[in-house]
Assembly symmetry: C2
Homo-oligomer: 215 residues x 2
């Protein structure tokens, strides 16, 4: 019997990041693809050093799948996409377009939005990355005003990752971008997102109870 697909995350996080910890991306992809999986955890305490043998940057999630072990949520998504036509079309052109937009989410949008957000939450609300980010978001608004899905005329893993990058409230609040807002609403209305999101919230809430018992 093949080893079960396992998504590794933290055993607990404070309320702030709940619903945004990136194991959500892998849960969501597995739900879309109908792949069975289990969730296992590493300790929140000493999280930056307690699993460096598995993740050299001390982050979650990581994924194990038989003899495959992967960190980087984007890599995990592409690995799962290789197992499911729901996530990535099997024709060469459609697969390439999906790959292109998956990388665009990671390396053209998130590469600006996450550092911008990091500076913002560390006290620089209007920082030197704001105009660059606003430009990228405006360029993406043009794309999304012309189509419902990024690649291949249908939902793919590219929409999963792009919507996950865009749904961050600070990013959504960054100006009026109606096509992008409709896109985020459309992608996150999918049952697989709702289940993955609810499951992550429940996972961390259950850990609250455990921690209060330990007192």
């Amino acid at each position: 019997m093949a080893e079960t697909l396992t998504i590794w995350t933290l055993d607990w996080v404070p309320p702030g990041p709940r619903g945004f910890v990136r194991d959500l991306r892998l849960r969501w992809a597995a739900e879309e693809a109908g792949l069975a999986y289990v969730v296992r955890t590493i300790a929140f305490e000493d999280r930056e050093t307690n699993h460096l043998d598995r993740q050299p940057f001390g982050q979650v999630p990581f994924l194990t799948d038989g003899d495959v072990a992967l960190f980087e949520s984007g890599a995990g998504l592409l690995h799962l996409a290789g197992k499911s036509e729901t996530l990535m079309p099997r024709d060469t052109a459609g697969g390439a377009e999906t790959l292109q937009w998956t990388i665009a989410a990671l390396n053209s949008i998130e590469m600006v939005s996450v550092p911008w957000w990091f500076l913002k939450v560390t006290g620089q609300a209007e920082n030197g990355l704001a105009s660059w980010m606003d430009k990228r978001l405006a360029q993406l608004e043009v794309v999304l005003s012309k189509r419902d899905w990024l690649a291949a005329g249908r939902f793919t893993v590219a929409d999963l990752i792009m919507a996950d990058v865009l749904r961050v409230s600070d990013v959504r609040a960054r100006g009026e971008r109606p096509a992008t807002e409709a896109y985020v609403a459309r992608v996150t209305a999918r049952p697989a997102f709702r289940k993955a999101h609810a499951d992550q919230i429940a996972h961390f809430a259950a850990a609250d109870s455990e921690r209060s018992k330990r007192g």
Copy 2:
């Protein structure tokens, strides 16, 4: 006859970015893989808007390969890796490890190093991203102190992209990291890098002559 693999870049850039325009990544990968390719160009003038039908963020490079058209250098690299065992091992675990480190270069290292560099060159030498970048670079130094190549015990496309991210002089100057420095030297000593680099330099230098003739 299949359409030739075509790498699209700008027809000219000022001296500063020469040797760093990202068509280099695709030239390098094609050279490693022994794939025949041609280079075609779009005009530097109005470059942010003159090819939005091909690249919605107004950037280069993009790649065409028969009926496949791809922007995002990372996506182009993974597309080429699918055509060449030199770039990515064919066994599942080795392929996954290569994918993981390719995404790590794009979404864990470059996601910090490029915004940090952008703030630096726009006047904020010590900006709010410096400590985050230094931490990531230190974590990577630990990895590189234990192995010569990131994935599968040999050169892969993950090394190509990681070395390209790390070879930026401002990043190299960011503290003493001997294993990283040796790694960058090792990867960029490859004949395929040297050829791709020299070809890009020559490409833009030739355009200087054309421009001076046009007066």
